[in-house]
Subunit: 346 residues, 2 copies
């Protein structure tokens, strides 16, 4: 019954080929040689179109993010840990315990396989550190010039305690705004690396999953109203979104906003407003005033929160507006970013 | 307290700008004017970084797929319904009831907003038809020439009945293989449209979510071993994967494999083997022989299954090998696709 078969010579490649996206032998070699060794876990080894997972909670958080950062590698990280940490932080900001992550790769023909390996290894490490399991994935390949190295989508599932509801709609007058760390580092790092500006020797991306910080906050503080990571558009855009959804007004105290000297200098030189520069490991925490000091202590005790500050409060004012009270005693409205300040920051 | 503010003139754009990915005003306008009106549902309106969802099952299926099909529009569908149907079918193939979908867009600067609107509307319709809710999303924009119009990632969650386990590892000697419809239509349609070959007047993509078919199968047939949609790499690659995972051998009867005349002609002319051409609305169903006839009846009663056939069985043979018994009485091994036959088919 068995007919003659030409043995296919085992070829070695050091770059991504279009055939790596075919669903055939080459796709399988990518999975077997790069993805499985890095991400190995029993869920992933179900080898089906999706993964069957146990879930002990009646409420889940579900989130998705595509990552197109340029360059792929930068001081403090690469697109791989960025893609894991970003989605983990989004789950945490829903008040969820991160459980399961998917990874969807779009690869450009010609990408060095060494680069892909590095990225995938970084993802695996980041996932382990963040306590989340990469359980399902997908790979597509497009022709050279039809994407830019690699784009990664991660989607995440987390479990939520029955009575916990973190939502912008909870935010109310009198609430306190805490920022968990110095702002602007990720955005300035990416811009500087991309444009060879030289600041990257001093400024690293702050990409990190804030699992322990948020888990401690959620268990220690009964009534957190809102958590959000201040990514694209920085703390200014993020607070504008929250003010808009909650129909409240927020006033910030400029002198309290933590920012490291190299970031401030870089922003001044580049004409960037650090309030609008992306962060990847900085959260905004909004909660009732009576809980602000204990929350601040919990955050400061975390390795990623030692420079946290109370930076503002929810005030009477025009719904949807965010004000900045400057060191000179004036006050100005800080609106949303209307165009694009820094493209492809994440 | 309120300082003077320059009103931002309300500008109209008909193309995607880099600023649409900024996380600021333009991103919000994309969400408000294109995504929310199409996808509107209470979950999506939580307006947080992720979505909190109820779940009544202790087992879920989780799957992800990125779609990079070229061209974006083709006879029978566009990248939008392809992205919804593909992920819904992957959930169904895990034996799951589709519940929640995420949508991650990577847009190329310059993409006509009209195209995006069309795609998003098609997604919304496909999701409604498939009984799945788009609950969370993300949009990134890259510079012109750094992607190709639009790439879409969808990730899906479905609930699984406690005792149901569909898995390639269930497949065992004696099992019957059913294909739910004629093969090769999607792949030939995409190739023909992309290369202007003219076949597209007769051949439409078969993209469709097979929810009703699979739900009826799962409730009517107690012991389905395996379900898989025969997408990239066609039925040949899909069956090779299954044979490999299950460590079984599969024999197909060439004369039973349904294929429409225009697809067969096109494949002959183009030198394509239809067994390797992608399908988007065709499943392989593998199950014990005593249930094959009832399963075939259920499939044939479905509007998308009227041309289903029993095409083969799991036989004694070298584990991992798939054989094709031809009409002429010979038998040959059909291996996996070793290179790329048709890039960017989904």
């Amino acid at each position: 019954m068995k007919s003659a078969q030409c043995p296919i010579p085992k070829q070695r490649y050091d770059r991504v080929l279009l055939g790596h996206g075919s669903g055939g032998t080459l796709t399988q070699s990518l999975i077997d040689e790069i993805f499985y060794p890095a991400f190995s876990n029993p869920f992933l080894q179900q080898q089906h179109d999706g993964t069957v997972l146990p879930l002990m909670s009646q409420h889940i958080a579900f989130t998705t993010d595509s990552f197109v950062v340029s360059p792929l590698f930068f001081p403090g990280g690469n697109i791989g840990d960025l893609a894991v940490n970003g989605t983990v932080n989004d789950l945490l900001c829903c008040g969820a315990t991160p459980l399961y992550l998917s990874a969807g790769f779009i690869l450009e023909e010609g990408l060095p396989l060494e680069d892909l390996k590095k990225i995938v290894k970084t993802m695996a490490k980041a996932a382990e550190k963040a306590g989340i399991t990469i359980v399902t994935g997908d790979t597509k390949v497009v022709e050279k010039g039809k994407c830019d190295g690699v784009f990664i989508n991660t989607s995440g599932i987390g479990s939520i305690q029955k009575n916990l509801r973190i939502s912008p709609k909870n935010v109310t007058e009198g609430d306190i705004v805490i920022v968990t760390g110095p702002i602007g580092e990720h955005g300035v790092c990416i811009l500087s690396t991309r444009e060879n500006l030289g600041f990257e020797s001093k400024i690293k991306s702050d990409t990190v999953a804030l699992r322990s910080m948020v888990m401690n906050l959620l268990s220690g503080i009964p009534n957190i109203h809102m958590l959000r990571d201040a990514t694209r558009g920085g703390i200014a855009s993020t607070l504008n979104e929250i003010a808009d959804t909650a129909q409240v007004s927020i006033a910030l105290d400029e002198s309290k906003i933590p920012i490291e000297e190299p970031v401030l200098s870089a922003c001044e030189l580049l004409g960037l407003d650090p309030l609008y520069v992306a962060n990847e490991g900085v959260l905004l925490v909004i909660l009732p005033p009576e809980e602000a000091e204990s929350a601040l202590q919990i955050i400061k005790n975390d390795p990623n929160g030692s420079k946290a500050e109370i930076i503002g409060e929810v005030v009477k004012g025009t719904p949807g507006e965010v004000y900045l009270n400057t060191a000179l005693g004036s006050s100005r409205i800080i609106g949303r970013l209307s165009g694009e300040q820094l493209p492809r920051i994440c």
